[in-house]
Symmetry: C2
Subunit: 169 residues, 2 copies
Amino acid sequence: MGVPLNELLAGNQHYAEGFTQGELALPPASKVAAVVCMDARIDPLPALGLHLGDAHVIRNAGGRVTDDALRSLAISERLLGTDAVLVIHHTDCGMLTFSNEQIREKIHAELGDTAYQVAEHTDFLPFGDLAQSVRDDVAAVKASPLIPNTIAVYGLIYDVHTGKLSQVE
Amino acid sequence: MGVPLNELLAGNQHYAEGFTQGELALPPASKVAAVVCMDARIDPLPALGLHLGDAHVIRNAGGRVTDDALRSLAISERLLGTDAVLVIHHTDCGMLTFSNEQIREKIHAELGDTAYQVAEHTDFLPFGDLAQSVRDDVAAVKASPLIPNTIAVYGLIYDVHTGKLSQVE
């Protein structure tokens, strides 16, 4: 791999030597749970002016509100007291650049028939319109029976070139 | 909510004013994709000695290797060139403290019958043994037809009290 495991563990050793936040409470201090794309160019906590211990961070390809994200949000809210959800997608997202058919064909070509059989039944959740994808995912949170309407839900777009968040109405 | 949206946006305004990393490449520089628990006390990038632009970060309740995490990993590897997966669970995890039955009953009591009907068919993926949960999820990555055996997969436990990572064999 690009960075070998022993280098990552050495980086962690350095981090642990300077670590002073060992007594943080389990429930997030800000009561926020953020659903964010996995993109490498986003570090959600500092981008929201938050710190270690402040927020649950749920991330996947696209920052999509999947059943698994709803599972995580339900645990966050019912067991750990969060009461606001941020859905954060971003500019220049890889999810804007392919279709289900394209990634399935790529998987078929690179990984073979068995992988293709799984890929055929997988929705990779790409999208064509960034603001609309945020609106769709905000709507998916609000529509879930697992998320009561006492939970505030906001949609945001993060600009990877400026670090700036803007709200999607 | 604990921290209102305008305060988060003000925090972001401050972040954006100091933002200097606007020209990072889309593919993660370290070629690492990390599957990590959503816990508020973990900030995966600095904990791995990594920086903005270095790694895909996939997070959910428990850091479990769900179908959605595998969707994200497949996109990360096929389209953006990552070739190593880290599965990172952690000490003092909320997932060690409840059963499916308990959270379903809590959802029933707090949110009613419709929510319960969804919860009944949701596996919230709690676990009773931390190291075993890491091994199980490493095995789930390796078992997926979407993840070829050219991908390195490592399991780790993060200690929220010391900031230290240790490998699970």
